[in-house]
């Protein structure tokens, strides 16, 4: 390959650049050489792909170093690294998603899974379904309702509080002592272990409403404690990078500060804010430990967040995995757990879609 390169170099000497087809040529060479090397040590597709990619990157960078100079070579190297990192990151993520899809789809497609609760489903029922080969009974409806309601309430609490705090920090505080205290405390809040947030909410409501108060709302408060710092932190970052020129332009036109914030600053940052909020929701919607101590563990449908125990998808997944409904035939429980996990991911996907829609609707038109 080296000879090929030097020839090309000569023919394109005046411009000191590699010809356009060189990456393709190098790629083809890398694939062939990798195949040859792999056949020496035992062939497998995965190793072949990895080796090809590495060879391609090395050859491409060295070719650039020889022909195009150091700067171009560094650029090519960084490009290879970025692409490589992306591919490396995809591996586990694809593996996780694949696992969830493969294990979750059969359960999700079971009739009644989405529309029934676990009321009355006992180990005997599961044993019967395994022994007779009948479909797995019992569903996730109660947990789905619980998760949606609890997360909704947590969002209703934390987004206004979190966003307003971020606005205060960036727009109003002028770096005063109080704002430093808030920043500090928000940092502290990110360090609260999730179980502690749950215990705190449980203790707080036990103090007000008597011991053993477990409702969806208590869980929502616990989740808010976890959610608020994420919202503040990400929104603050996003508000900060809104260029000052925009604010000054609005002020110059005589626009009030609060209207400037609402109509100029937030729309500019909305995409990032929405992303941050989605992340925050995603962070808490999968929480298990705080929900167990705040919302209890229900097997029946409860639509009221202010009274009675409530199920949720994470607690459902957790209990189905850790304490199968039938200890001796855990397969139906495992199936339900994976299906619920898949459902949880789909739920977040929808939420994410919604947040992006919002961002799209309100974001100002930019070059990107």
């Amino acid at each position: 390959m080296a000879t090929l390169m030097t020839e090309r170099k000569r023919s394109a000497l005046t411009r000191n650049r590699l010809p356009r087809y060189s990456p393709w040529a190098i790629a083809a060479g890398a694939v062939v050489v990798a195949a040859a090397l792999m056949s020496l040590i035992g062939f497998n597709v995965f190793g072949w792909a990895v080796l090809s990619a590495v060879l391609f990157a090395v050859a491409n960078v060295s070719a650039a170093a020889i022909v195009e100079g150091r700067r171009k070579a560094v650029d090519k190297m960084m490009t290879s690294l970025v692409y490589g990192a992306f591919l490396v990151a995809l591996l586990p993520l694809v593996s996780v998603i694949w696992t969830v899809l493969v294990q979750g789809i059969p359960g999700l497609l079971t009739p009644g899974f989405l529309t029934t609760s676990m009321n009355g489903v006992t180990g005997a029922v599961d044993n019967a379904s395994v022994e007779n080969g009948t479909p797995v009974l019992g569903g996730v409806y109660h947990a789905l309702v619980g998760s949606v309601l609890i997360t909704l309430w947590a969002t209703l609490i934390s987004v206004p509080v979190g966003l307003l705090t971020a606005i205060y920090l960036v727009e109003y505080s002028a770096g005063n002592r109080f704002s430093k205290a808030i920043t500090f405390l928000v940092d502290v809040m990110t360090g609260i272990p999730s179980i502690v947030a749950g215990l705190f909410a449980a203790a707080f409501f036990a103090m007000i409403l008597g011991p053993g108060t477990k409702t969806g709302f208590v869980a929502a408060v616990a989740l808010s404690v976890l959610m608020i710092p994420v919202v503040v932190r990400s929104s603050e970052e996003m508000l900060k990078i809104v260029p000052n020129e925009l604010r000054e332009a609005a002020y110059a036109l005589g626009v009030r500060k609060w209207r400037t914030i609402l109509k100029v600053v937030i729309p500019t940052a909305i995409s990032g804010i929405a992303s941050g909020i989605t992340l925050a929701i995603a962070r808490v919607i999968g929480e298990t430990a705080p929900l167990l101590v705040t919302a209890g563990f229900a097997t029946t449908i409860n639509m009221n967040v202010f009274a009675g125990w409530m199920a949720s998808l994470p607690t459902f997944i957790y209990t189905q995995i850790m304490t199968p409904t039938s200890p001796s035939n855990a397969d139906p429980s495992t199936q339900r757990a994976w299906a619920a996990a898949l459902l949880l991911i789909i739920l977040v996907m929808l939420l994410n879609l919604g947040a992006r829609l919002v961002a799209r609707l309100f974001a100002p038109k930019t070059g990107r």
């Binding site: 700067r71 970025v82 705090t165 606005i167 109003y172 360090g191 404690v225 626009v255 992303s275 995995i321």
Partner: protein, 315 residues
């Protein structure tokens, strides 16, 4: 942040509602901040009151029998090891993924990829835990054995390798996979906000793509990257279920590929349900320690960010 000085002239504006709006709005913003402060104090108070009996108890009564410090020290180190592994892996890859999506990938592809990355942040930790315990751990058995055989002279790869693959290194990798989407998603947003003019100017001066990124994007994004990494670290430090499911815990050891070590969050989750009396206070005190660690790390991060404040758009 001196925006208040730039605020439009006050006084006899045509619309009075505007002034009221201003007051209401700034009041609400202030109120939200105050609420956070209040909640935090309540949580801190709760933690301290609940943890206090641990520090006054007879050292012999604490788990391990040698006092709270001897009990907490190994799991603090374990927590730091796991979080360090996670960040060492996730930070470069996460930033690279964000760069890929914002500056390398074709635009049509980038949107979809951004979406997938956001989505991954949403997978519940129980699922990551189950995946790590059942899939990843068994995949890593072979590599661990190889490491123990060939690099065993390095203490962190000391053998014999774990027979189940459920080690602190596996836990760290699972944590890395979990925090990667957080870092990638937030830094991507920051990269996208980097001033276009600077970038175009850099390219116009003949900079290569990497030079443009290094000069016009990364300096601008430094504070944001650190912030994103800290959020990731917060999750890595506090992650409970994934570690509890993946790690085969034990006493503190240097080797990363043997079963052993424990993290604070997992220690709490595994023992809290059965805890009674002093043991419960002990675990809450462990929570307090975790709290303090996260705080210390965050303060360092804030300090670094503040040194680079000049890049913030709002100053």
């Amino acid at each position: 942040m001196s925006t208040t000085k730039l605020a439009p002239a006050k006084g006899a504006g045509p619309e009075r509602s505007g002034r009221i709006g201003d007051k209401v709005f700034s009041g609400a913003a202030l109120g939200a901040g105050a609420l956070i402060v209040t909640v935090l104090f309540a949580v801190a108070l709760f933690l301290i009151v609940q943890a206090l009996p641990t520090f006054t108890a007879n050292p012999a009564d604490i788990t391990g029998g040698e006092g709270f410090f001897a009990y907490i020290f190994p799991i603090v180190i374990g927590t730091l090891i796991a979080a360090t592994i996670a960040l060492l892996i996730a930070t470069p890859i996460g930033v690279a993924v964000a760069l890929f999506i914002s500056h390398y990938a074709p635009r049509s592809l980038a949107r979809g990829l951004g979406y997938v990355v956001d989505l991954l942040a949403a997978i519940p930790s129980v699922v990551y835990g189950a995946w790590g315990a059942s899939f990843l751990a068994s995949q890593l058995k072979g590599p661990y054995a190889w490491l123990a055989d060939n690099l065993g002279w390095i203490p962190i790869f000391g053998g014999p390798a774990s027979g189940t693959g459920k080690t602190i290194l596996t836990a760290g990798i699972v944590l890395a996979v979990m925090v990667l989407p957080i870092i990638a998603s937030l830094t991507r947003e920051i990269f996208l906000q980097a001033p276009m003019l600077h970038q175009e100017a850099a390219l116009a001066l003949g900079a290569t793509r990497w030079e443009m990124i290094r000069m016009a994007v990364l300096p601008f994004a430094r504070g944001g990257i650190i912030s994103a990494v800290m959020l990731g670290l917060g999750r890595a430090l506090g992650e409970t279920m994934a570690v509890a499911l993946v790690l085969s815990s034990g006493p503190l050891i240097a080797s990363l590929i043997r079963s052993g070590n424990q993290t604070i969050a997992a220690e709490i989750a595994l023992n809290f349900p059965e805890a009674f009396g002093l043991r419960m206070h002990e675990l809450i005190a462990a929570g307090l320690v975790l709290f303090v660690i996260t705080l210390a790390v965050n303060m360092v991060a804030r300090w670094i960010i503040n040194r680079h404040k000049e890049f913030s758009g709002a100053n």
